[in-house]
């Protein structure tokens, strides 16, 4: 119907050259070429997945979920490395993605390294430096066995978690992202390693933003 209620309240549409309505159009048009352009392009990576669009659509569509679908496809068919924004998935996999299988947390105090998160500010740095003292003062159980906030997640559970990733293809998905990113890294002449600190490609996709946006 192209009423545009989704774009109207879409946070991404306000700050990026992005238009969820238009993306739905392209999908409905079933125009292979246009859809491929989407998978290759930056646009689908602009969505913030707040799903505000779901609430408003008079036709009950959810552009946000369509986009996350496109993202998965873009990665599976290996087009995500074609676009600047798509390539960033590598950085996310490298940080958040690996946190999950390594620690059982998406995010944990120890993951939010001040040098990667300058916007977190001095108080956070203070917390980060005195993590155990501060966490436990608030009743946490910082990186220790047993229950409680920020506890160490034991191997039984971690094993299960990793197994799930293997069985359901999550692991392959990770490796797929890695593999294609390595190929791209070579094309872009940026060296890429398995860890983060000396990983030029990682910092490139994590930090750099070309002028066009």
């Amino acid at each position: 119907m192209n009423c545009g209620v989704c774009t109207a309240i879409c946070p991404a549409a306000e700050f990026y050259d992005y238009d969820p309505r238009d993306i739905c159009n392209v999908l409905m048009s079933k125009d292979e070429e246009k859809i491929e352009d989407l998978l290759k392009g930056d646009k689908i990576w602009h969505c913030g997945q707040c799903l505000s669009c779901k609430t408003r659509c008079p036709r009950g569509n959810v552009p946000g979920l369509l986009v996350s679908l496109l993202r998965e496809v873009s990665i599976r068919v290996g087009l995500f490395t074609e676009s600047e924004e798509g390539r960033r998935q590598y950085a996310i996999k490298k940080t958040l993605g690996e946190n999950i299988i390594n620690s059982g947390y998406c995010v944990h105090v120890m993951h939010v390294k001040p040098h990667l998160h300058p916007e977190q500010g001095p108080v956070w740095k203070w917390y980060f430096d005195n993590a155990e003292e501060v966490a436990d003062r608030q009743g946490g159980n910082y990186n220790k066995e047993g229950s409680g906030a920020l506890r160490k997640i034991n191997d039984v559970n971690l094993k299960d978690l990793r197994k799930i990733f293997e069985v359901t293809g999550g692991k392959d998905f990770y490796d797929h992202i890695d593999k294609l990113s390595k190929v791209k890294a070579v094309q872009l002449k940026k060296n890429i390693t398995d860890n983060i600190d000396d990983n030029e490609y990682f910092y490139h996709v994590y930090r750099d933003k070309s002028q066009k946006q």
Binding site: E14, F15, Y16, D17, P118, E119, R207, K209
Partner: protein
Amino acid sequence: MKDLGFSISKSRTIDLDKADLSVYQKIIDKVPSAKLCLMCGACTATCSARNHTDFNFRKIHLLFRRGQFDGLADELDKCMLCGKCRLVCNRGVNTRAIVYNMRIILDNLNYKRIK
């Protein structure tokens, strides 16, 4: 000021409370038929410049109407003023005159060009 490695994005939302709509009034005074534009896009469809580039008169006209002038001066440079658009307009809008006057006005407001 600190540099945290990123800058806070600028909004591209059209805010009709802030936009200067009086500029478009000048167009209407010069080309009254501008009011009649339905944004049907016939002009863009026939446009010779459109044939070579993404020049889109319909959209430029609309953005101008909404008081969004950034980058328009450069866009308008693409027009060759051949006037086909005027002949195909089903509401008899003098589109060519609109382009002409938009150019003049933008130059007078010296709207900064990208290059």
